[in-house]
Symmetry: C2
């Protein structure tokens, strides 16, 4: 029931009874227990439906169980305190420079900012979720490699949980993007979905049979390192022609005739110009090829494009969807894979990080 309220928001006792297939007395017992624990509260709904005594509206008390969400990116860190139900109760962020990008600096700053936020909010936290743009071992939060942060083998989970005093779960950024989309976004209810996003790197998160797919030792896949152009550019990973070298932020900047080091804002502005669709032709073709592969290997019903890809012109996204459906054998068999842009803004990793922290709290993992 808590999961229902957390994900879908307030509901009347009557609606909960119907949805969960429980009788009135069971619902009463469960809700009364949660009210007593201070986890939910009840109120008389404003809009009455039908005659008779109104069914009380049950809603999660966001202060009752709060988690810390941390989104570490190449150029900035954002932290947020998120209450049960998904409300952001407070947040803070700061930019990263070469000087402040070291693991020590980031960890110290996260801990200090969290303490300040908690004092302001007068809250205790039950867990944290952290998003990192890199290869992460899920079970202990070791960051094996985060190339654009220049981090290698950082025991991030252990160091943060040691200092903060509550469990800290660390995930790959695209994995958490997939989680956010699956719990609260356009992939809600999808059994099989893939989230693919572009920052400097290109990452992917996979929902398979309703759950996050992880490989051996908890490492999620790195779709950005599919070799897609055997004659392509060398990639930092040691291969050449990886997908991210053809469709990542730098490739998009190149296609637009800009410097690879152009700031994100300038690239997004250029993507809105009239002839962007034509200039993106090669990137679009590489995006189609890579997504055909993703769909043929994983068989999702839905592909969600995130981060910088959400700034692609609508015509490009539409064209990509059509081409993937036309060229992918598995899409044709399964009746047509949808390709859509994420509707979350820059907060998608924070939302995913919060859900990662809530999973064990709500008994989901």
């Amino acid at each position: 029931m808590l999961r229902r309220l957390h994900v879908f928001g307030p509901a009347t006792r009557a609606a909960l009874a119907t949805e969960l297939g429980l009788n009135r007395s069971t619902i009463k017992a469960v809700v009364d227990g949660l009210v007593e624990d201070g986890v939910v509260e009840e109120s008389v709904p404003r809009q009455r439906s039908g005659a008779g005594r109104p069914s009380l509206l049950v809603m999660p008390r966001s202060q009752a169980a709060a988690v810390l969400a941390v989104d570490i990116r190449t150029d900035r860190v954002a932290i947020a305190v998120v209450g049960i139900g998904g409300e952001m109760l407070g947040r803070n962020s700061w930019k990263l420079h070469d000087r402040t990008r070291s693991p020590d600096e980031v960890i110290t700053h996260v801990i200090e900012s969290t303490r300040i936020l908690l004092e302001e909010l007068k809250l205790e936290m039950v867990a944290a979720g952290v998003s990192v743009p890199g290869v992460v071992r899920r079970h202990d939060g070791l960051v094996h490699e985060a190339p654009n942060l220049h981090w290698t083998d950082v025991p991030l989970g252990q160091r943060l949980s040691g200092a903060l005093g509550f469990p800290v779960h660390v995930g790959n950024d695209a994995e958490l993007g997939a989680l956010a989309e699956h719990v609260r976004g356009v992939a809600r209810g999808a059994s099989d979905a893939v989230y693919v996003s572009a920052d400097i790197g290109v990452g992917g998160g996979v929902i398979s049979s309703g759950a996050a797919m992880r490989g051996t030792a908890g490492y999620v896949g790195e779709v950005g390192h599919m070799v897609i152009n055997p004659h392509g550019r060398p990639c930092y990973c040691g291969s050449s022609g990886c997908w991210e070298t053809e469709v990542g932020e730098q490739a998009i900047a190149r296609a637009l005739g800009m410097s690879e080091q152009s700031p994100r804002g300038a690239i997004v502005a250029e993507l809105r110009t009239a002839d962007a669709v034509e200039r993106l032709a090669s990137v679009t073709e590489w995006l189609v090829l890579g997504l055909v592969n993703v769909v043929n290997v994983l068989g999702p019903e839905l592909v969600v494009l995130g981060d910088l890809f959400t700034a692609l012109p609508n015509d490009v996204v539409t064209h990509i969807g059509e081409e993937v459906r036309r060229r992918s054998l598995v899409s044709r068999a399964a009746g047509g894979t949808r390709v859509v842009a994420s509707t979350f803004g820059a907060d998608v990793m924070l939302i995913g990080a919060a859900e990662l922290a809530f999973e064990p709290v709500l008994g989901l993992a």
Copy 2:
């Protein structure tokens, strides 16, 4: 317990008690029940260990629960009756020609051969598993497309179960190869493994977190249709440069300087010649590239090469493993993905088909 006996074979009551964490009286009750039902039988073990009364050896009675396994390939069909415990109690096979490859012909022949086999064996069957080299919708056994059989939208599961009178489960051949390897082969006990095999097409089956991975509507992925060479040959699927156009049976024949239509036996013989390793250089490189992609996307601990790939020279398989570990970011993070050849011969699909049929019988799916 039945699953334990089915997969790992006979065991003493004492060993079962230890393995399953049950006390002697529970084991006695369960075993006595299964003996009464005729599913297992007990005998005094030949080799005694220690003093005291010997613990009885419990073994599955292979006749107690038998399934039908069917392996449909481009050039032949094999059927087998497999008892609980995995023993093949009887089998039959026949070649397919252009004239006998139609769905009607194959279905009629499977039904007739099964009836003959059952009369000989005086057995009843509880379920069937069928392997098909094509895109299969798992939940109802619709063969959406089996290009090398020239089948499209054949309701194979429904037609066979209607005629045979017991449940028929249909799977993609590589999916069932993965299942066979996971239950009884080199991937036994692996949590995350990929089985990749070459026939005319190239297929893949994925074990993720200990279970078969399936995409939307039950369609498994088609790794053979990753676009790996954007400037490559057109593929029947509508794309160009699919992995199977570079590493499938015809590509291997071309690399060896043979006709694409060479019979399998001739190709295997040629693979055993002294200079095969050099002649295979391009196929080997495409195999490495595709496997780097498979490992980077799916993160398995183990890749099993099946079917025609088992005939590759050992040096080639060793080289492929080294290159995949060197070039795959995810393999490096996870401590090194192993690449091994299947140890099953031509029966791997039959074994997998039998396990597909046993899964629901043993309460596994």
